[in-house]
């Protein structure tokens, strides 16, 4: 039970990552490699500020803003200086590696006893709902703190998904979608495509940095390696969500990103429990994404092969 609660909590924490990757990968149809750096900068900034005693909400907000800035820089490199999208993302995330080291002052920071959103959630749970320090759920003992984190992260990711769906249904959001979907058409209806790309990548990386800062607060430390593979993880969770909920209408697609993140983490927990070496996790994730990308083409080829055989034998 504790394992499942932990996995679900991390799933909800990674939901903003999935939403951010959804924006760049599905709305703007670019793989934005800034993500690895912005996940890290969210974690690093939030952790560094929390150990200096900043209130958790403010620290999380600043961590998020650092991600917005990173995404906007990538967007500018891409639109104003015409650097290819992939290279622009790599440049920003590589630079962020050093920035993150400067922010943290070393390769890792422990939050120790510093206040964080997680301790805040526990406090609120106790004060408002009389949440005990530990309670029994389905025959196992569960700590009140872990339940409080789960509820907080679930509410937060739900609100973010809802907000993103609302945003993409406004005049501005529609302009962003048009800019990503068909820049030529967007220009013809008077949309400033470059501005929409900067805005979209800023938003996307803000969400990703938020996921990073939540993750650091949940596990109680930040380190320099945290962001590695964030893009691939985001794409993988997105694919899980799409396979479960599909991609139409838009609200369902967005909800799928959250559901996908949670299901993905539950699958990971089960796999690790069943004996998967945690060191192999990124390898498995990458292979999973590759398989999902290749599967349609492989299935087409097999089907064509079978049809061919039938034709010859007919």
């Amino acid at each position: 039970m504790n394992l499942l609660i932990g996995a679900a909590t991390i799933g909800f924490i990674l939901a903003p990552l999935a939403l951010g990757v959804f924006l760049s990968y599905r709305i703007y149809q670019t793989i934005d490699l800034t993500a690895d750096g912005s996940f890290g900068v969210g974690a690093a900034a939030a952790a560094a500020l929390l150990v200096r005693g900043m209130p958790p909400l403010a620290a999380t907000a600043l961590g998020t803003l650092a991600g917005v800035a990173a995404g906007a820089i990538t967007g500018m490199l891409h639109t104003k200086f015409l650097v290819g999208a992939l290279l622009a993302g790599v440049l920003t995330s590589t630079a962020l590696y050093s920035v993150n080291l400067f922010i943290m002052g070393s390769g890792s920071i422990s939050l120790g006893s510093a206040a964080s959103l997680v301790t805040l959630a526990e406090l609120l749970g106790r004060r408002l709902f009389g949440l005990p320090a530990s309670l029994t759920v389905l025959g196992t003992t569960v700590s009140g703190a872990s339940l409080a984190s789960l509820v907080l992260m679930a509410l937060l990711s739900g609100a973010l998904a809802w907000g993103l769906a609302l945003l993409l249904g406004t005049d501005l959001g529609l302009a962003m979608r048009a800019a990503g979907n068909n820049p030529q058409m967007a220009k013809a209806v008077g949309i400033d495509v470059d501005r929409m790309v900067v805005l979209g990548l800023g938003l996307s990386n803000g969400l990703i940095a938020l996921a990073g800062s939540l993750f650091a607060q949940y596990q109680g430390f930040a380190n320099i390696q945290m962001g590695i593979g964030a893009v691939v993880t985001g794409v993988a969770t997105l694919m899980v969500g799409e396979s479960m909920l599909g991609n139409r209408p838009l609200g369902r697609w967005i909800a799928g990103a959250v559901v996908g993140a949670v299901v993905f983490r539950l699958l990971v927990a089960v796999a690790v429990r069943a004996g998967l070496n945690p060191n192999a996790l990124k390898l498995v994730t990458a292979l999973f994404v590759l398989a999902v990308l290749l599967l349609p083409a492989l299935m087409r080829r097999t089907r064509r092969g079978l049809a061919e055989r039938d034709r010859i034998h007919a």
Partner: protein, 283 residues
């Protein structure tokens, strides 16, 4: 700038080009004058058809006006504004465009209603207001109903499941929902089957007549050139070589245009053989 009257009254012409030039690959052996000092003035509410061989500069002309092709020299005026330094999206505040490819003019990932509401905001601020409130949906439904395609019942259909003809008809609607100073049509029926093309041409005539729109239409179809419009321009090697208006335009038939093109081709051949002679003699 005498043309831009000091009293601030409406300028006579919707569009004016002054010595607009554009050169592809300047300073290389493959240098090509896409636009060679083109002067052009379009009167308000007129429909002008542009004809020309491949590579004659028709597309460059549209690009120069729409802002997708930067000019090497010359100026572009729209509605009395000097729009030469304006970006493509800024000029879109004054220009409605329909492209040759029906997929270019609509965003395939969006629904019919979403595409139309985007076009309904052309030239206006896009903020955080819901894009498809009840009022806007109703207005869009009314617009789409005019097409007579039954699309008003399919507003939430993803636009990519519609046929090319349906999408092009919607694009014509989108280009004119906000009344443009200038409507640019870039061979917008060339990629359609004959029936759809006919339908889109009819719709185009209707919206132009209803709005009294100033229109510049590029086409390959000599019959369209003869049937539509008040004026026919023929482009060749980046220049406007024929400008057929008034009585001559009234009497114009397809054979006249065929003859014009034959003459152009004949002149080209002469040029080529002359060049060969020179090369043999001097190189």
């Amino acid at each position: 700038m005498a043309w831009r009257s000091a009293t601030g009254s409406m300028p006579e012409s919707a569009l004016r080009l002054e010595a607009a030039s554009h050169v592809f690959h300047p300073g290389t052996p493959s240098e090509q004058r896409a636009l060679d000092a083109v002067d052009l003035e379009l009167g308000r509410g007129t429909l002008t058809v542009v004809l020309g061989t491949n590579g004659s500069g028709k597309s460059s002309l549209l690009g120069a006006i729409a802002g997708s092709l930067p000019l090497a020299s010359g100026r572009v005026y729209l509605d009395g504004h000097d729009v030469t330094p304006w970006s493509e999206q800024r000029r879109a505040h004054l220009i409605g465009r329909v492209f040759q490819n029906p997929f270019t003019g609509t965003a395939s990932g969006l629904s019919v209603a979403e595409n139309l509401t985007l076009a309904a905001r052309r030239g206006r601020q896009r903020r955080l207001r819901p894009a498809l409130g009840a009022d806007r949906r109703r207005v869009i439904g009314e617009h789409v109903a005019r097409l007579g395609m039954g699309l008003e019942d399919r507003l939430d259909t993803p636009i990519d499941v519609l046929s090319g003809g349906q999408r092009q008809a919607l694009t014509v609607l989108m280009a004119t929902m906000v009344r443009p100073t200038l409507l640019l049509l870039d061979e917008h029926t060339a990629a359609l089957d004959p029936r759809s093309a006919e339908l889109v041409v009819r719709l185009t005539r209707e919206v132009i007549a209803a709005g009294g729109l100033t229109t510049l239409m590029v086409t390959h179809s000599l019959s369209q050139a003869v049937q539509l419009g008040d004026r026919v321009l023929v482009m060749h090697r980046g220049r406007l070589v024929h400008d057929i208006t008034g009585g001559r335009r009234q009497r114009l038939v397809e054979d006249d245009l065929l003859q014009l093109f034959d003459q152009l081709r004949w002149a080209d051949r002469l040029d080529d053989s002359a060049a060969q002679m020179l090369r043999r003699a001097y190189v």
